[in-house]
Amino acid sequence: MSLALSPVGLTIAVGFAAGLAGTLGWMLRVPPPAPRGATSTLRSVEAIRKVLVPILDLGASVRAVELAARLNQGHKAEMLIVYVHEIPLQAPLVMPEKDPRIQRALAAAAFIATQHAIEPRTKVNVARQAGHRIVEIAREEAVDLIVMGISHQNRPNESPLGRVAEHVVRNAPCEVVVDRVPRQKVALIPTEVI
């Protein structure tokens, strides 16, 4: 047969060579092996299906929503935001009517969650002791993870975590992440500004 150069033939030849090289190159690039235990750790975090973020104030607690949303990125876990309104023993245990402070905190928390494409469930609870109520909610709702934000200030003779977080860490039936916001950052978070 005589020599017959064809642009289509040359194109197919180049395509064949590229296809073969690409196929073999892809095949030979094997991902590194997973060490024993690494994948179960990944899976245990991926298995979190319900996250509770208790809100106690507008500062560190609301910041915990941002942390929880970032922890949850891509996992599609349900987020439950509960404002726990602590009422002293002397006062009647009734739900406050349209407390602007509560409304503002929940609105801020919900806004942060929606920025991460999460539609949170929000509710308000009253309690004599916030820590006890948070643990109860975690049990009732079968929560997998509690994410709490606490400020740096402690009362005298209190543990470093504070009264509420201390109780939750000790008694919660699930994983607990406590974010203790450092002093420098506390100044940047609006707390009591209404």
């Binding site: 047969m1 005589s2 020599l3 017959a4 150069l5 064809s6 289509v8 033939g9 040359l10 197919i12 030849a13 064949f16 060579a17 296809g19 073969l20 196929t23 073999l24 892809w26 095949m27 030979l28 094997v30 991902p31 092996p33 997973a34 060490p35 024993r36 235990g37 690494a38 994948t39 179960s40 899976r43």
Partner: protein, 532 residues
């Protein structure tokens, strides 16, 4: 004498085989088997499918791709020796596991015999005197020199495989690289220097195949893809099988399809593909690739010897993969008491299943002798070779058919075993409270292979008798063995598959799959415990 007793799990998962096969080695075991087929098939497919030859390869390639994806899923989920036999055992039970095993065993022993014969046929291109070294024994025209070469070739393969997978894997890897480069040079040079797209169109319009011709051509082309399952046979010796096997299976499917389609399109652009003498492959159906290479300008001078060398090499390594697959298959079958445990013995020195290598290579030697002493012309055109080819097709399609049924069954029976690779196109179903991914593409594959199986039965007169006869004969021996061992002939030996699966994954260091499996079992047990 009864076999020694074993635990309830038998020896499932306890591997004495070394994990020495790398990603390239795994690919080459498959390529060694499948890559040789184009050297045999191109000419006969072109003579059957005429101007539609590339379409026949495309149609066959689609079924082949589904078989490949099926094996990729099962071999990565169950990385143990045995391949199709093990999958059938898990999915359908002991008897069907044995039927699949005996069909595949038929394939592998014939693979050793047939491909060693053909390999030395190619090598004899360099020994022109060999053609005249014949002797007449009654009505038989025996090529005694060729026969001795073939027997020597099989003995070399036995020696290499007894020495260990590392030796023969290195052999495969080296020769496979040469074969791939050589084939690629022919394709690239052919398309660049001589291919005429106008001739492709002309062949397509002037010589269209009838429906019957196309069916015959595509069934021949499907048979030319046999051998991909070799990857699963060495799964128990493959490092990180759950990671590597899906990659090598997909790599093999794509590269073999690329070669098959390229060669068929190249042929359609170089020769007229009409009926009979109007076909460029008329008289050259036995050496189609060499025929193409001879007609390529510039490289044509060296193309004929180069192609003969490459053809011989690739066909010989195909025979080598037959030895590996037969020995691993029978090793696996003996582990599960489908064959006597005598076959389960692994050499202490080389860690290889020596007995199975020797015995089933011996079967291949007997098949070779039958081929050479059967009355007819040369060893490549007599009735015995036709018989071997028919049996090859029957064994492969029977095995594939059972494997597809096993794939579908295992999705229901064992949804907990992690599948690092899933066949695409799945439909979620709830079965007994568990979500099952029903394999739609698996059903298409089953239908495609079933059509091919019927074509083989209908169009291969020797295969439709000798193939089932082999399976029935093996079945009788199986029943006898099980009866002597006081095991259920048609039923199953109880086994702890879950413990076995964990052990297999642990041995393979596939921790990701192991942890996923443990988590799935824990979740299942939790659900069961919660039920009243």
């Amino acid at each position: 004498m009864a076999d020694p007793p074993t635990s309830s799990t038998g020896t499932i998962g306890v591997s004495e085989l070394r994990r020495d096969v790398s990603v390239w080695g795994s690919y080459m075991w498959g390529y060694a088997d499948v890559g040789a087929d184009i050297y045999v098939a191109l000419g006969i497919v072109a003579l059957a499918a005429l101007g539609f030859t590339p379409l026949a390869f495309l149609a066959a390639g689609l079924v082949y791709a589904m078989v490949g994806l099926c094996y990729a899923e099962l071999a990565s989920a169950y990385p143990v020796a045995g391949g199709g036999q093990y999958f059938a055992l898990r999915g359908l039970g002991d008897l069907w596991g044995f039927v699949a095993g005996s069909a595949l065993l038929l394939d592998y022993t014939i693979d050793i015999a047939l491909f060693t014969v053909i390999a030395f046929g190619y090598f004899n291109f360099f020994l022109p005197f060999a053609e005249g070294l014949t002797i007449h024994i009654g009505p038989t025209h025996v090529h005694w020199f060729w026969l001795l070469e073939t027997l020597a070739g099989i003995l070399v393969l036995v020696w290499m495989n007894v020495r260990g997978i590392k030796v023969s894997s290195a052999f495969n890897n080296f020769l496979g690289v040469i074969a791939i480069i050589g084939q690629a040079i022919i394709v690239i040079a052919g398309f660049s220097l001589v291919w005429d797209p106008g001739l492709v169109v002309s062949n397509f319009t002037a010589f269209p195949a009838t429906f019957g011709d196309f069916a015959l051509g595509s069934s021949l082309a499907i048979i030319s893809f046999v051998g991909l399952e070799s990857i699963s046979q060495v799964a128990q010796e493959t490092r990180r099988p759950a990671t590597i096997i899906p990659r090598t299976s997909i790599g093999l499917i794509l590269s073999v399809l690329l070669f098959a389609l390229s060669f068929s399109i190249l042929a359609a652009g170089m020769f007229h593909l009409g009926p009979g003498v109007k076909n460029g492959f008329y008289g050259h159906s036995g050496d189609p690739v060499a025929w193409i290479a001879q007609h390529i300008p510039v490289i044509g001078v060296v193309a004929a010897p180069l192609t003969a060398l490459i053809g011989g090499v690739i066909v010989f390594i195909s025979a080598n993969s037959g030895v590996v697959s037969a020995s691993r298959l029978t090793y696996s079958m003996s582990q599960f008491k489908l064959l006597p445990l005598w076959f389960n013995k692994v050499s202490k020195k080389y860690s290889t299943p020596t007995r199975t290598i020797v015995v089933f290579s011996g079967v291949a030697i007997i098949q070779t002798l039958i081929a050479f002493f059967t009355p007819g012309g040369s060893a490549t055109s007599n009735g015995a070779i036709e018989l071997l080819t028919d049996l090859y097709a029957f064994g492969a399609t029977t095995g594939y058919l059972i494997v597809f049924v096993s794939l579908i069954t295992l999705r229901f029976k064992d949804p907990y075993t992690p599948r690092p690779y899933h066949m695409p196109l799945n439909f979620p179903l709830t079965y007994r409270g568990t979500i099952i991914q029903f394999p739609v593409l698996g059903v298409f594959g089953l239908v495609g292979v079933a059509i091919t199986w019927f074509e083989v039965i209908l169009t291969h007169p020797l295969g439709r008798i000798a193939g089932p006869a082999w399976v029935v004969l093996c079945g009788l021996l199986y029943m006898l063995y099980r009866r002597r061992q006081s095991l259920p002939a048609a039923g199953n030996v109880p086994r702890d598959w879950e413990a076995a699966q964990k052990r297999v994954l642990q041995e393979a260091e596939e921790y990701e799959s192991l942890e996923a499996y443990e988590a799935a079992l824990a979740e299942r047990d939790g659900v069961l415990a919660a039920q009243p």
